[in-house]
């Protein structure tokens, strides 16, 4: 299976998983995992970033269409997609020459966890701030960010283990 078809199918699968299953989890009444961002971690690093940014935007927008949230998922997903390379540089000290050989699953767990957790926290914080859209319930925003991030991270590592198996 070629890379393009694999990622197209993965995109569809992740959107359906998020929309039909994970959006209805509502653990303790309101905590939802936003696992669709694993697509951004699985997508290979490239020097040309136009395609990646556009796909990230589309991914967020498709989640938005289904959850009636305007563009908040698109906004937050695009933000972490843009800052992904920066954090790759910070946590793994990889530069442009290393991109073709970079494989997240081969990195040590500690570095991997820092990288994933940072991007997840940023994503969730932007997401919940926009979903709330006022400064009134700010503590609620922080709590939501924390709980949902934990939930997403707990699901992330087993799921990524399934997808990163070589075809």
């Amino acid at each position: 299976m070629s890379k393009t078809i694999y990622f197209a199918l993965l995109f569809l699968f992740i959107v359906l998983l998020q929309v039909l299953v994970l959006n209805n989890v509502l653990f303790l009444g309101y905590v939802n995992p936003y696992l669709y961002i694993i697509f951004l971690f699985l997508f290979p690093l490239k020097k040309d970033r136009f395609r990646f940014l556009f796909i990230a935007f589309l991914l967020g927008l498709s989640i938005d269409v289904f959850s009636d949230s305007g563009g908040i998922h698109a906004f937050s997903t695009l933000t972490i997609a843009y800052f992904r390379l920066f954090f790759v540089k910070v946590f793994f000290s990889k530069y442009e020459v290393d991109y073709p050989f970079f494989d997240l699953s081969l990195e040590p767990f500690g570095k991997k966890f820092n990288y994933v957790a940072t991007l997840t926290l940023i994503h969730h914080f932007i997401l919940f701030s926009f979903a709330n859209f006022s400064f009134n319930n700010f503590s609620q925003v922080l709590l939501n960010t924390l709980y949902s991030s934990i939930f997403t991270l707990v699901l992330y590592f087993p799921v990524v283990y399934i997808f990163s198996k070589k075809q």
Partner: protein, 275 residues
């Protein structure tokens, strides 16, 4: 000129990022405004048909509850009907065909295929649309009380602004004293709504029933909303009263959409009065 080209080449990713970010922001702000959003909603063709497929499966799991609810409502309505017949036969007045002439509202049934209640701006999706003569700004209720107002209509599906939406503002009153105010939601607890602007002289007690007021063109008079569970006695201007919904918004089955046949006429006459 060369400087400019150099600038674009250096920041091309950042500029592309900003462009997409602006599109996302425009979508966010459009979504917050009533009636503006058209395509990025769950009432568009792709998402609504997908939700419809999912609903066809999940519908079976709640059949028992829904049947019970409908049975209760039928019993209640049958009792009301009997009371009505008694009073009409006792009074010795001539019968007028009230079915057609004085009818102000029509009810049509619909099912909810997508429900949100955890966010600050919640929407529902119904499985009927313009082809079933639904339109924007129609009331959505069920047997227990109010649910929301229709907002975006596509040929086969409708998006409903839930009462659990920070933009939602409904006209409501206390059943026993008829003082009216507006019902809002602060985005915290999905069971509790806030009734504001009730006059200070109104006597409000915990447990009082709150119902819709007939002063808007959307909701008919006297549809149940909830009961009073909290009164703030501090000297705030808007005099907030906490109202607990009769409906459990996390678990709603079939709903009714109410069309006001006089809406156009009322709007027309109100517009003349304003000018």
């Amino acid at each position: 000129m060369q400087q400019l080209i150099y600038f674009f080449r250096k920041f091309k990713y950042f500029l592309f990022f900003l462009l997409l970010q602006c599109i996302a922001l425009i979508l966010i702000f459009n979504n917050l405004n009533f009636h503006k959003s058209k395509y990025v909603t769950s009432a568009n063709a792709v998402s609504s048909s997908l939700y419809h497929q999912a609903f066809n499966i999940s519908e079976y799991f709640s059949l028992k509850n829904v049947n019970n609810e409908l049975l209760l409502e039928n019993t209640y309505l049958r009792n009301r009907l009997r009371q009505k017949q008694k009073t009409t036969t006792l009074s010795d007045s001539t019968f007028v065909d009230t079915l057609k002439y004085f009818q102000k509202y029509t009810f049509s049934s619909a099912k909810i295929i997508n429900n949100n209640f955890t966010k600050a701006f919640n929407f529902l999706t119904l499985n009927k649309g313009r082809n079933d003569s639904l339109d924007k700004e129609m009331a959505v209720v069920n047997g227990k009380g109010i649910i929301g107002i229709t907002e975006t209509v596509s040929p086969n599906y409708t998006r409903v602004q839930s009462v659990l939406n920070k933009n939602s503002k409904l006209n409501a009153r206390l059943r026993n004293s008829r003082y009216f105010g507006s019902l809002k939601w602060d985005g915290r607890d999905y069971k509790i709504l806030q009734l504001t602007d009730i006059p200070r002289q109104a006597l409000v007690k915990i447990g009082d029933t709150v119902e819709t007021d007939g002063k808007s063109t959307i909701f008919p008079e006297g549809i149940l909303i909830g009961k009073v569970v909290g009164i703030n006695n501090d000297a705030a201007v808007d005099n907030v009263i906490d109202v607990k919904l009769f409906n459990d918004m996390s678990n709603i089955g079939p709903v009714y959409v109410i069309k006001n046949l006089h809406k156009y006429e009322i709007k027309q006459i109100e517009n003349i009065a304003n000018e």
